[in-house]
């Protein structure tokens, strides 16, 4: 049983404050780019191409792709925040400030996850605000929507943390986002319903965990989903627990931090 004392709480708040200040100072790099990317998606995919596609599940194409675009922004920035923050602090060695201090591993992990979640949600809010110009904003199930966004953000913050632990150079922090996250996200049903796919591809798509996040959020916002929402929630929780275990396990081993 983990007992959180006041010292650990103060340390946790300190890490979170430091993380938030870090990405706030460079807001032009951290907050603005997703606005531009999403505006382009809305214009090109939503308005220009979407107009020819027509409605999916009784929603306009722009409305249909919005939950996926929102989720993509949230998870990408949650991931990027933790991986870059952890790797930069390893590279410049100021991670040693944390390592020599009497901070428990769970406090360090929780601090980084919270930093990633705050950035992911901050970007999500900005994307929602910008989307008002292009979509009819609906939220069928508010609590479910919030839970799915939160758990997706924690999951990818932990993925970023794990990547940061294992990263030995700058290339290593780009490999996972480029070769795994981006393809899985695009193939996870942001721009299409998997019911539009041939049977074989539909079966393959079901092995993509991001599919469950996108459909979970689409159900929360639009009330439509390609998969059973309860299965989506079980899978999201399962991957959160798995990543939490892996992060704490490798932190305890000192992977990438202690020689």
């Amino acid at each position: 049983m983990i007992k959180i004392n006041n010292s650990q709480f103060v340390a946790y708040i300190t890490i979170v404050r430091k993380e938030v200040l870090r990405f706030s100072r460079i807001w032009k790099q951290t907050i603005i780019p997703p606005v531009i990317t999403n505006v382009l998606y809305f214009i090109i995919f939503g308005n220009l191409i979407g107009a020819r596609i027509g409605k999916i599940d009784s929603y306009t194409y722009t409305d249909f792709i919005f939950p996926g675009l929102l989720l993509m922004s949230v998870i990408t920035h949650s991931y990027t925040n933790t991986v870059s923050s952890l790797y930069i602090s390893k590279y410049h060695r100021h991670i040693e400030e944390l390592l020599v201090s009497p901070i428990e591993n769970y406090t360090i992990l929780l601090g980084f996850i919270t930093g990633g979640v705050i950035r992911g949600i901050a970007v999500g809010i900005v994307v929602i605000l910008v989307a008002q110009l292009f979509v009819t904003f609906t939220m069928q199930y508010i609590l479910l929507t919030v839970i799915i966004i939160f758990l997706s953000s924690t999951l990818f913050s932990m993925c970023g943390f794990l990547n940061g632990l294992f990263a030995n150079d700058w290339d290593d922090i780009n490999v996972i986002p480029t070769f795994i996250m981006t393809p899985l996200t695009y193939l996870g049903g942001i721009f299409f319903s998997i019911n539009m796919l041939p049977d074989v591809w539909r079966e393959i798509a079901l092995f993509n965990p991001i599919l469950y996040l996108i459909n979970g959020l689409r159900f929360g916002m639009l009330g439509v989903s390609d998969i059973d929402i309860s299965i989506a929630i079980v899978i999201i929780v399962f991957f959160n627990v798995l990543m939490l275990y892996l992060c704490l396990h490798y932190l305890k081993l000192g992977k990438g931090l202690r020689t």
């Binding site: 010292s7 103060v10 404050r17 040693e96 400030e97 944390l98 009497p102 428990e104 202690r258 020689t259």
Partner: protein, 308 residues
């Protein structure tokens, strides 16, 4: 009753590449000590410090900090320690004061308290005017002082300094020496590694010399320095110096018309020489040790270890 600030027993470290950096070393540092841990590059000093501060995982052995075993209660053990590492390792994009307040936060110190600690340390170490500057804009000496301030922000009982004055000019070094002496006098135990041996000789009460992962010497500075059999001095004379007679027991080398060096052999002391010089009507204006006594012993010890 004084506790031991640090007790290391049979400590070994073998890195993943098979290199053994430490061989069963034993070390004890008493509370209130100013302790020098000296050794040539690659001797194992930083590995030892890394293990004490948890940056490096030990392979075998035990480490206790103020009677707290790092294997049993690492967070408590770490709360006693402040570390000034060899290389600058703060976030160079953060302002000076923020670095201190964050570090205090990692030790569980509330912001209102750490603000006061930061004010005291920044004033004391001459950095108060730079408190809002990002740390990358500080000079080398200021960065060194910032490292010390950061290590002291949580008022550690044991301060470990890994070459804290490397690259600092003499003015900064003297300021640091004065401050370190002051905090040691106030009860903080200090472990110092340095390549400036006169620094260790001036500041430290006890000494350990490590080489190739083994402790070669561990005793009081006084006892260690007393092992020096021959001492070499440089003497400056008033007026021109001519080689006097009856100096068979001293090995004298003239440097120029106003100075000479002399080796005082075991069994003689500087007063014997001064008596002779007075009789010869040679007036001495000033004198100094040619090399640091500690340096001489250190080199001798390490060279002997190489031969063995």
């Amino acid at each position: 009753m004084n506790l031991d600030a640090l007790v290391i027993k049979k400590l070994s470290k073998i890195y993943a590449n098979g290199f053994q950096a430490l061989y069963n070393i034993d070390l004890k540092v008493s509370e209130g000590d100013f302790f020098a841990l000296l050794g040539p590059n690659g001797a194992g000093k930083s590995t030892t410090i890394g293990i004490i501060t948890s940056l490096i995982k030990k392979s075998r052995g035990s480490v206790k900090i103020f009677d707290t075993d790092i294997d049993k209660n690492f967070t408590k053990a770490k709360s006693y320690v402040g570390l000034v590492p060899q290389e600058f390792n703060f976030n160079t994009f953060e302002p000076v004061r923020e670095i201190l307040i964050n570090q205090a936060g990692y030790y569980g110190i509330q912001k209102d308290i750490s603000k006061d600690n930061a004010y005291y340390l920044l004033k004391k170490l001459g950095l108060w005017d730079k408190r809002y500057q990002v740390s990358r804009n500080l000079s080398g000496g200021m960065k060194r002082r910032l490292m010390i301030a950061r290590a002291l922000i949580h008022k550690p009982k044991l301060l470990i300094l890994d070459e804290p004055t490397a690259g600092a000019d003499i003015e900064v070094r003297r300021l640091m020496w004065d401050y370190l002496k002051e905090i040691n006098n106030n009860g903080t135990t200090i472990i110092l590694t340095t390549h400036y041996l006169e620094e260790a000789e001036k500041l430290c009460k006890n000494i350990a010399i490590i080489d190739k992962g083994k402790i070669l010497e561990n005793k009081s500075m006084k006892d260690f320095l007393s092992e020096l059999r021959n001492e070499e001095f440089i003497l400056y004379t008033e007026g021109k110096f001519k080689m006097p007679l009856n100096l068979n027991n001293f090995n004298i080398n003239k440097i120029d018309d106003n100075s000479f060096s002399v080796i005082i052999k075991d069994g003689f002391n500087i007063n014997d020489l001064l008596d002779i010089l007075t009789k010869e009507d040679i007036k001495i204006k000033s004198m100094k040790n040619k090399t640091s006594r500690l340096e001489e012993l250190f080199i001798r010890l390490v060279e002997n270890n190489d031969k063995n």
